[in-house]
C-alpha cells in the first residue's frame, strides 16, 4: 500500500514538475507533508497543487492510446480559439505547447483551459507564467467536452 502511494506520488510530482519538491531521496510521507504545507500556504488543496484549480476535481481515466477522432475535433477547436496565442514549438503570446502534456497532468491542462483567471491567481506555476508572459490567458468559451478534445489533440502533438 505504502509502495503504491509512493509510486502515485512520484508520478504526480514528476507530472507537476515543480523542482523544489521533487527531492527523490526524501521519504514519501515527508514529501506528502511538505506538499501539504505548500498547498496550505497557498490556500489550495494537494490535489489542486498537482492538477490545477478548476472544474476538474478528480483524476480522469485516460487511456494510453490516442483517440484520433477526438484529437481531430480538438485540432479544429485549437485552430479557432487557441492558435492565435499558442504554437507547438515556439514561444508566441503564450508558451509553446508541444510537450505540455509531459510537463503537466491532464487535469492541470484542462483546468488551465477552463479556468485560466483563477489559475493565474492561485496556482504557483500558472502565476509564474503570468509573470513571464505578462498576458492573462483568457477563457475561450469552451465546454468541458471541448477541453477534453483539446487535451487529446495536445497529447497527439506530443508524440509528433
Amino acid at each position: 500500500m505504502k509502495l503504491l502511494i509512493t509510486l502515485v506520488l512520484a508520478v504526480l510530482i514528476s507530472a507537476f514538475g515543480c523542482g523544489e519538491e521533487s527531492k527523490g531521496d526524501q521519504s514519501s510521507s515527508a514529501n506528502n507533508s511538505a506538499k501539504e504545507r505548500i498547498a496550505e500556504k497557498l490556500g489550495i488543496t494537494v490535489f489542486e497543487l498537482d492538477n490545477g484549480v478548476g472544474p476538474i476535481k478528480e483524476k480522469l481515466q485516460i487511456s494510453a492510446d490516442i483517440d484520433k477522432i477526438m484529437a481531430e475535433s480538438g485540432k479544429k477547436i485549437f485552430d479557432a480559439k487557441c492558435v492565435q496565442c499558442h504554437k507547438m514549438d515556439e514561444r508566441y503570446t503564450g508558451p509553446a505547447l508541444r510537450d505540455v502534456t509531459q510537463r503537466r497532468s491532464p487535469e492541470y491542462v484542462m483546468n488551465m483551459v477552463l479556468n485560466p483567471q483563477e489559475m493565474t491567481q492561485k496556482h504557483p506555476e500558472a502565476k509564474k507564467l503570468l509573470a513571464m508572459y505578462a498576458n492573462q490567458m483568457t477563457f475561450q468559451n469552451v465546454t468541458q467536452e471541448d477541453t477534453r478534445a483539446l487535451l487529446e489533440y495536445l497529447r497527439m502533438e506530443a508524440n509528433h
Binding site: K81, V83, Q84, T93, N135, Q136, T138, Q140
Partner: protein
C-alpha cells in the same frame, strides 16, 4: 452661496448635522439643499464593488443617445449610441453600422431622442427591450437589453416631429407614436397659410414581433391638423385603448405661443386600437405610397441592413366610427398618464390651473350614452363633466407629467414653479411638494408608468442647473435629482449631472437585467461576410483597387501585422475579427491618417475600417482600447507604395 453655507454652521454653533438640517429648512433659497434628507449620503452610497439597485435609462435629448445610470448612486455606466454617430466605438461610421442611420432622406448622423420606454409583459417592465423616439426625422429605435446595443430603427412616414412616442401597450403589442407637427399628407407644395385645408396629423401603431422584437408599421390613423404631444396606452380595464394629447386645436400655423392658447380646452384623443385592428381586417385602411426605412442589426452577421419600404396602411376616422373620441382637456395638455389600475387618465395641462383626471369607466359610459357636445372633423367630443373623475387643485405652475408609486399616490412635475407635487388618487388632494433645481420636465419612478411601480425613488429630470454645479462657461449641464418617496414626505437625496438633456428616463430593478447580459459573441456563430474564425485564415486579398485585409486581433497582436503591396489610390478595408471569447476584452483599431472613427470590436465580433491612403510611406496601426500589459506592443505597419506600383501583396 458659499458664504451662507459657512455662516450657517457658525451662527448655530452647534453640531454640523443640526446646522445642515437647519439649512434644509431654509430650502427655498436657490442653491441650498432644499428638503435634503439628513442621512441622504448613506441612502445613496453604494460601496466600491457593490451594485446599484436599479438600472436607469435616460434619454440624451439633443445628444441623440441613451445613457445608463445606476440608482441610487447616480453613477454613469454606459452611453448607448442610438441616433447619433459615435466615434468612440465607430457606430454610424463603419459599413456594419452605417445602415442604422439610413432614412428616406439619406444617412442622418443625429437626432433628438426624448422618451425611453421599457418593453412590458402584463403591464410590467420585462427587461427585453428599450424603445426610444427620434423627434426630428421621425424614427423609433429598439435597444436590446442583453447587449445594450441599438438593434433596430424604423422611420415613421407621414409624421413630423415624432414627439408623442414611443409608448407601448401592456404586452408590447404595439409601440404608438404621434406627430407633433401636422403637415400636408401626403407632402405637397402648398402655402403655409392653407394649414386648415391641407394639414393633417397621424397616429402610428408599430407592431412588435414578440420573439424577435422586430418592428413593423401596422397602420396609421389620419387625424385633424392639431399638434400631438404625448401618449400613453391603457392598461387593465383600459387595455385596448391609447390616449394622445393634442394642443393647437386652433390649427394655428404661426406664433403658436399666442395663437395656440386661445381655446379653453384642447383634447385628449382616446383611440380604440383593438377596433382599429378590426377595421384593418375589414379592409377599411387605404394604402398610401410612403417611403420609409426599417434598419435592423444582426448579432451574427454583426451587420445592419437598411430596408426601404414603400407603402403604409392609413385609417381615416370618417370611415371608422367609434375609432376615436375626444376628451376635452384644459389647456394645451402636455403629458397624458394612465394610473396603475388603468382607470384614471391624468393630463398635464401646462397652462391649466388644475390637473384634470379623466375616468376610463365614465368615458365608456359617456360613449354608450352618446353624451357628446359636438363633433370635430367627424370625431365625437365627449362632455367634460361626464368623463372627469376629479381635478387636482393648486398643483403648481405648468404641470407636465405624472407618474405613480403603486401605493395610491401620483407625482406631477410642475415646470414653471420647479417642483414635484404629490397628490392622492381618489381624493385629488395635494399631500406634499418638493422643489426641483430647476425647471423639471419629466419625472420618473422605476416602473412608474406600469401596472406595478417599483416605487422607492423618484428622479426629477431638470433642464436648468444654474448655480448647482461648478460653472463651465456658457453651457451648463442638465441634471437629475434623486428623491426618496418611501415615506410620507419626499426627501431629496442626490443631484447628478447628465449627458445631453435627460428628457425622460425609465428604470428597472437590476436583477431583471444583470443575469441576462451577453458577455461575448460566440465565434462559431460569427456570420460576418468578412469575418475569420481562426488566425490561420488571416490574409490580404486584392480585388482591383480594393484591398481586403482579413485581420484577427487577440491579446496582444494583430494578424497580419505587416502588410505590403498597397498603393496610393487603393481603398483598404480592414475587416477585423476579435478572436477573444472572454468577457470585457474588446480591442480597438486605428491607422494613422484614417479619416473615420476608430473601431471598438467586442469579443467574437467583426468590424471594418475603410482607409484610402493618400501618400506613400509606412503607416502604423495600433490597438486603441487598453487591453493588457502588452497593449503598447499591439501594433503593426502597412506600407503604401506610389499609385500603380507593382509591389506584390505580402503580409505576415
Amino acid at each position: 452661496m458659499l458664504k451662507i453655507k459657512l455662516i450657517a454652521p457658525l451662527c448655530f454653533a452647534v453640531l454640523f448635522i443640526i446646522a445642515l438640517s437647519a439649512c434644509s429648512e431654509n430650502g427655498s433659497t436657490p442653491g441650498t439643499n432644499g428638503a435634503l434628507d439628513t442621512d441622504a449620503a448613506e441612502k445613496v452610497y453604494v460601496a466600491p464593488g457593490e451594485y446599484d439597485e436599479f438600472y436607469s435609462f435616460m434619454s440624451g435629448g439633443f445628444s441623440g443617445q441613451v445613457t445608463v445610470y445606476g440608482l441610487p448612486s447616480g453613477r454613469l455606466f454606459k452611453i448607448i449610441p442610438v441616433f447619433s454617430q459615435y466615434p468612440e466605438n465607430g457606430y454610424g461610421y463603419t459599413p456594419e453600422t452605417r445602415p442604422m442611420l439610413q432614412t428616406s432622406y439619406g444617412e442622418i448622423p443625429w437626432d433628438d431622442a426624448h422618451h425611453p420606454e421599457l418593453s412590458q409583459t402584463n403591464g410590467v417592465p420585462d427587461g427585453r427591450w428599450l424603445f426610444i423616439n427620434g423627434n426630428n426625422t421621425p424614427r423609433v429605435a429598439r435597444i436590446d437589453l442583453s447587449t445594450f446595443e441599438t438593434e433596430e430603427i424604423i422611420e415613421i412616414p407621414n409624421s413630423a416631429g415624432n414627439h408623442g412616442s414611443p409608448f407601448i401597450t401592456m404586452n408590447t403589442e404595439y409601440v404608438v407614436a404621434s406627430t407633433r407637427f401636422s403637415v400636408p399628407i401626403p407632402q405637397k407644395d402648398v402655402p403655409i397659410s392653407s394649414y386648415k385645408e391641407n394639414f393633417k396629423g397621424t397616429l402610428s401603431f408599430i407592431n412588435v414581433e414578440q420573439e424577435t422584437g422586430h418592428m413593423n408599421l401596422a397602420f396609421q390613423i389620419l387625424v385633424p391638423g392639431f399638434n400631438y404631444d404625448l401618449a400613453h396606452a391603457g392598461k387593465g380595464p383600459s387595455h385596448g385603448w391609447a390616449f394622445f394629447t393634442s394642443y393647437n386645436s386652433e390649427e394655428a400655423n404661426t406664433l403658436l405661443e399666442i395663437n395656440a392658447s386661445q381655446n379653453d380646452k384642447d383634447f385628449i384623443a382616446a383611440v380604440n386600437w383593438k377596433l382599429a385592428e378590426e377595421y384593418v381586417k375589414q379592409g377599411k385602411g387605404k394604402e398610401y405610397k410612403s417611403e420609409y426605412y426599417n434598419n435592423r442589426y444582426n448579432n451574427e452577421s454583426h451587420t445592419a441592413v437598411a430596408e426601404k419600404k414603400e407603402k403604409v396602411l392609413i385609417l381615416d376616422p370618417k370611415d371608422c366610427p367609434g375609432l376615436i373620441y375626444y376628451l376635452p382637456t384644459p389647456k394645451s395638455p402636455h403629458g397624458v398618464d394612465v394610473d396603475p389600475s388603468g382607470e384614471y387618465i391624468v393630463a398635464g395641462g401646462k397652462l391649466a390651473t388644475v390637473i384634470p383626471v379623466h375616468s376610463f369607466s365614465k368615458m365608456i359610459k359617456a360613449i354608450e350614452d352618446k353624451d357628446f357636445i359636438t363633433e370635430i372633423y367627424g370625431i365625437p367630443v365627449l362632455k367634460y363633466e361626464s368623463v372627469i373623475a376629479g381635478e387636482v387643485e393648486n398643483p403648481g405652475l405648468g404641470p407636465l407629467h405624472t407618474e405613480f408609486d403603486g401605493n395610491g399616490f401620483a407625482y406631477t412635475s410642475a415646470f414653471i414653479s420647479s417642483e414635484v407635487v404629490k397628490w392622492k388618487i381618489g381624493t385629488w388632494e395635494v399631500v406634499d411638494r418638493i422643489p426641483s433645481y430647476y425647471s423639471i420636465g419629466h419625472l420618473m419612478i422605476p416602473g412608474g408608468d406600469s401596472q406595478k411601480p417599483f416605487g422607492k425613488y423618484l428622479v426629477s429630470l431638470n433642464k436648468i442647473t444654474k448655480d448647482r454645479y461648478l460653472p463651465t462657461g456658457p453651457e451648463l449641464c442638465q441634471s437629475a435629482q434623486l428623491i426618496d418617496i418611501s415615506g410620507d414626505k419626499m426627501k431629496l437625496l442626490l443631484d447628478f449631472p447628465t449627458i445631453g438633456e435627460p428628457h425622460y428616463a425609465q428604470a428597472i430593478p437590476a436583477d431583471l437585467l444583470m443575469d441576462k447580459q451577453k458577455k461575448i459573441f460566440e465565434l462559431e456563430n460569427n456570420k460576418h461576410e468578412y469575418g475569420v474564425k481562426s488566425e490561420k485564415d488571416a490574409r490580404v486579398e486584392r480585388k482591383g483597387n480594393e484591398v481586403h485585409i482579413y485581420m484577427t486581433t487577440t491579446r496582444t497582436h494583430f494578424k497580419p501585422d505587416n502588410i505590403e503591396g498597397v498603393n496610393v489610390g487603393d481603398k483598404v478595408y480592414f475587416h477585423i475579427t476579435n478572436l477573444e471569447q472572454d468577457w470585457d476584452i474588446p480591442h480597438g483599431f486605428a491607422v494613422k491618417g484614417m479619416r473615420t472613427a476608430e473601431l471598438l470590436i467586442m469579443p467574437g465580433q467583426t468590424r471594418t475600417a475603410i482607409w484610402e491612403p493618400q501618400r506613400e510611406g509606412v503607416y502604423p496601426f495600433y490597438c486603441t482600447d487598453f487591453c493588457s500589459a502588452l497593449h503598447q506592443e499591439m501594433q503593426g505597419y502597412i506600407r503604401i507604395s506610389p499609385r500603380n506600383s507593382s509591389t506584390k501583396i505580402s503580409f505576415n
